[in-house]
Structure formats: C-alpha cells, structure tokens
C-alpha cells in the first residue's frame, strides 16, 4: 500500500470543519473553547447558514473567536454581547445572530444584558462557556466559582460570607418566558461533544424558527488557571462542577409557540 492509497477521500473519517479558518488558535492546549468553536463551525455549515449568521464575540479568552470561524463577526464590549446581538437581530430579522460568552462576561458584568435579552425573547442563540473562572485576566473569581474554589482573588478558596454564592444563571434564564431552549452541556468526552453539537444545532434551529432565545451553557475547563493538566481538569470538572452545574436540558419549548415581541394591536 502506498501513501496515495491511504490519503484517499474514500478513507476520510474526520476532517477540520470547512468553516474553521487556518488561523492557529490562541487557546491553551486542553481548553474547552476550541472544541466549542469547532462544534459551532460544524453546526453553522450543517444548517447552511454561514451567509446569514453573525457572531458576537465577548471580552474574555474568546475575544478572538472572530479569527476562527469564517462568518461575519462583531466584537462586543465586556458583557454587552446580548445587547449588540439584539441590535443586529432586531434590525435584520432575516439573519441568524448568536453571542459567545464566558461566565464572567455573561453572569457578572453582563448579567443585566443577558437577562433582559432572554426576557424579551430576542431571536438569538447564546453560547455560554462556563469555566468557573476569569480565564483571560489570569484566573480571578467568577460569579460561577464554586465555594472553596481557589482563584487569584480567592487564594484561600471562595468563601460565601465574603464572596457570596456561585450563581446558577442558567436556572434563572430557564424561568424566563422569552427563552425556548435552555440546556447545559459539556465537551470533555467524545460522547458529550456529540451531545453538545446536537444541542447547539437545536438552539440554532430554534433561532431560525423565531422561537425566542435559545441558550446553551457548556460547563468547561480552564486547565491553565485551574493549574491542572487537561486530563486532571476534566476529572476536576466532573467531580466538582457537575454536581452543582448538572448537565442536561433545563427547558425545551421549541415545539410550542414562542413568546412573541409583536406589538399588541388595539
């Protein structure tokens, strides 16, 4: 057998999603962001919406998300991605708009913007990468940091008395009538990656069908700032994050009519 027999389209079992650019990703090896980007690229291409999708990138490690997926992107200020997405989606109702946000971005500085966008039922998709920490700025406490978790600003572990409690913002968001599909996923095993892709795909379909806001949390690792190897970080996530941030669907009303923002007629 020679090389040409092996490198043959018929033997192809896996390839880089066509919508991912050639740019080298800046993420740390083992980081969840890269996997989530890959799934997004696959879903957007599968749904053939690459020419009508606009991504809104956050401030956080994913600030450069726009370097990696071959679609139009707009970069938002820290926490404001849902407002930016609202502006695009309202003025361009035929387009598909998503935000990509970390837990500091979404659940802390941008808590107002995400709650109100979801409550208005903006027809957008929210991808929420919850790694329980501020990755980009060097591992400070996030609103999602677990009790006892050591970070740069909780060197002795998060203490509820001093720092308050970890925020299950996804549970809050699932309460809002404007949301159609709210789910919590992860990308730490091949099986969970496949499940997460299905969830992202369903979320985009809901936005295309104008069902209101769909929200996909991905419980993630920041092995760099957790100071763990990629494998150990996955284990830590399963042992510590999953009991508190339990994976699974929190809400699915994609089959019912959305809460509509059409003005009431007299």
């Amino acid at each position: 057998m020679n090389l040409a027999d092996i490198i043959n389209p018929n033997n192809l079992v896996y390839e880089k999603p066509k919508l991912l650019t050639e740019n080298t990703m800046h993420y740390c090896p083992g980081c969840s962001h890269g996997v989530v980007h890959k799934l997004l690229a696959e879903v957007i291409l599968d749904l053939d919406i690459q020419e009508k999708t606009i991504g809104v990138s956050p401030v956080g490690c994913a600030v450069f998300a726009y370097n990696y997926i071959e679609i139009d992107w707009q970069e938002a200020a820290h926490g404001r991605a849902p407002a930016v997405a609202t502006g695009i989606a309202r003025c361009n109702p035929d387009k598909v708009v998503f935000t990509y946000q970390g837990d500091g971005d979404l659940a802390s500085i941008g808590a107002a913007e995400i709650l109100h966008a979801c409550n208005r039922g903006e027809n957008i998709v929210v991808i929420f990468v919850n790694n329980g920490i501020y990755g980009m700025t060097g591992g400070q406490m996030a609103p999602t940091t677990l009790i006892g978790q050591v970070t740069a600003t909780t060197p002795n572990g998060r203490d509820a008395g001093r720092n308050g409690y970890p925020l299950k913002i996804t549970e809050l968001i699932a309460q809002l009538p404007g949301t159609s599909y709210v789910t919590r996923q992860s990308v730490h095993t091949p099986a969970s990656i496949r499940k997460c892709k299905k969830a992202i795909s369903k979320a985009f379909q809901a936005a295309i069908d104008k069902k209101g806001t769909s929200f996909v949390e991905v419980v993630s690792t920041c092995n760099m700032n957790w100071k763990l190897s990629p494998v150990k970080a996955n284990e830590w996530m399963v042992d510590n994050m999953f009991p508190f941030y339990q994976p699974g669907d929190l809400k699915d009303s994609t089959k019912t009519d959305p809460a509509s923002y059409t003005p009431l007629k007299n």
Binding site: I54, A76, R80, A83, T86, R90, C91
Partner: protein, 361 residues
Amino acid sequence: MGELRLMKGNEVIAEAAIRCGCDGYFGYPITPQSEIMETLMDREPWNETGMVVLQAESEIASIHMVHGAAGSGKKVMTSSSSPGISLMAEGISYIAGAELPCLIVNVQRGGPGLGTIQPSQADYFQSTKGGGHGDYRLIVLAPSSVQEMNDFVETGFKLAFKYRNPAMILTDGVIGQMMEKVVLADYIPRVTDEEIDRRHGSWVTNGRKPNRGRNIITSLEMDSLKMEHNNIRLQDKYAKMEEEDVLFEEVQCEDAEYLLVAFGSSARICQKAVDQCREKGIKVGLLRPITLFPFPKKPIAALAKRVKGMLVVEMNAGQMVEDVQLAAGCNIPVKHFGRMGGIIPSPAEVVEALEQKLIGG
C-alpha cells in the same frame, strides 16, 4: 416645501428620525427627553416605514444595541440626558473605535450626579473632548431652535456615515421642551439591504456574501504598531472634519466691537442681548458655533483680529470658553459668563456681564 407644524423639540427629533428613514431607535427613559421615545412609540413607525423602536433595560444596553445595529450598516440612533450619556460612554468609545456611524441625542440637564432635570450645557467637555476612554471625537451638532432639532437629525446621520463616526446632537431641556413652528422634512425611504451591501459592503457585518468574504468589526488590536496606525487614521479623519465640516453662524459681526460666543439655547439668549446692546449703542455681534466638534476655530481667530473682546456665554462653569481662548489667541480678553444648576440667564444679565467684564473692565 415640507409640512408646517407647531411641535416640541423632543417630538421633532422623533418625527425627523422616522422621516429620514432611520432604521432603529434604542433608548431608556430620562427627563427631559422622554418624549422622544414616547413620540416614537405613539407613531408606531414599524407599521409605516419598518423602523424598529425598542425600550432597552438601560442606557448601557441602548448604546450597545446601537453598536450592533450600526455594525450591520443600519441608520440607528439613541437619545438620553446627561446621566444616561455618562452610562453610554463605554459604548460610544467602542463605536468610535470600531468606526461605525450612529446618532446620539443628548438633551442635557444639570449635574454633576443626579443634579437637576432643569436645562444645562455642562456636558460640553464630555461631548467634545471624548467622554469615554481613548483618543476619539464625536461630531457634535448644537441646535438652537426646534427647526434645527429637525434639520440636524438628517445632518447628523449624513456626517456620521460620511466619516463612519458617531454624531451627537447636543441640546438641552430648553430646546427639547419648547414648542416652536417647524417645517418638517419630506420622507426619505429607508435604505434597502441591497443598497447597504452596495454602499458599505467593505465593512458591514450583515452576513458574509460570496462577493465580499467575511467582515469583522472590532476595536481590538494587540499589535501596538497597528494600533497606532488605527489611531492615526482616526486623527486624520478628525482633521478632515475640521477642514470640511465646520458649521457656525455669525449675527451682526460686520461692525462688531465686542463679540458674544454662545451655542444652543444660550445663543438664543445672546441674540436678544445683541439687540439690547445695540439699542444702548454698543456694537456687539454673536458667533454661534453649530458644530462644537469640529470647532469653528478659524472664524473666531478672524474675529479676534477685529473685536476688542469676547464674552463666552454658557450654562456651565466655563467649558467652551477654553476653546474660544485657544482659537482667539492672547491679544484680546476672552471672558466667560455662565449660570449653572438649571438657571437660564436672561439677556439683561448677559448685557450686564459684558459691560462689567469687558467694557468697564
């Protein structure tokens, strides 16, 4: 000629927005400008022109909604009053940094802090020197009549798109709340998506096209040399504004021995003061900057060679006076007269200040 109406300044902003083909308004209530969004909601332009009107959860959200929609090439705006504009500072800086066009209306009230709902011009520095972080400028238009509230909506959008830069209408509670006759503009249709692609295809993020590849809108640049280039490009743009788009009005300046300099509602008061001075035999003129940025430096410098002194009248502690002093140079006295906290000076007070600070002094 367009339709003649008796309207409030704030209502006219709303009407002019609909008529000029504005695609979207995002705002949050605050006195003394809430009539802008109320009028829009009452007019239901989404039924008429397709314009989107959305009450946001805060001024922060409003300006970032504008950021998003402006990125897709749409003609969008927001309005607020002083405390709300402070909240918008982050978003305005991002929009200026990303070089997007939009219109922001500031119907000023007195500050600092929650201050007062009465009119003021104390946001001159904030509007003309930046307001948010970084080296950026807004195009700032200061109307002094309800008619100009109407006219400057379209002028603001034109300049915003010409320079891909946020434009601001800087007005105050006097002009926002007063009723005057106004000739409304004729309707201009909203720009179609095809036309947006044709005009702005090189930068808009409204979905990648086969003929243009993808666009990215960001103000982020980690390479310092490239970031300096971005800054130089912005500064070149601001220099071009100063060359091409300075607006001002001169009233009875030909034979003037003394000059009043005032913008917006203060200029209305000064116009009366000019008349009162001339009745007394004092030859006074008025220079009214219409664009506060770009600032009318040249006409002020030219007048500085002819008059004996200038009095800058503002409803603040002395802000524009610094720009007038810079433009006038050191050969003549340039003084300031201002009232604060929501007090509107009377023409007689202005005349008295002129006599005390320039003629008698």
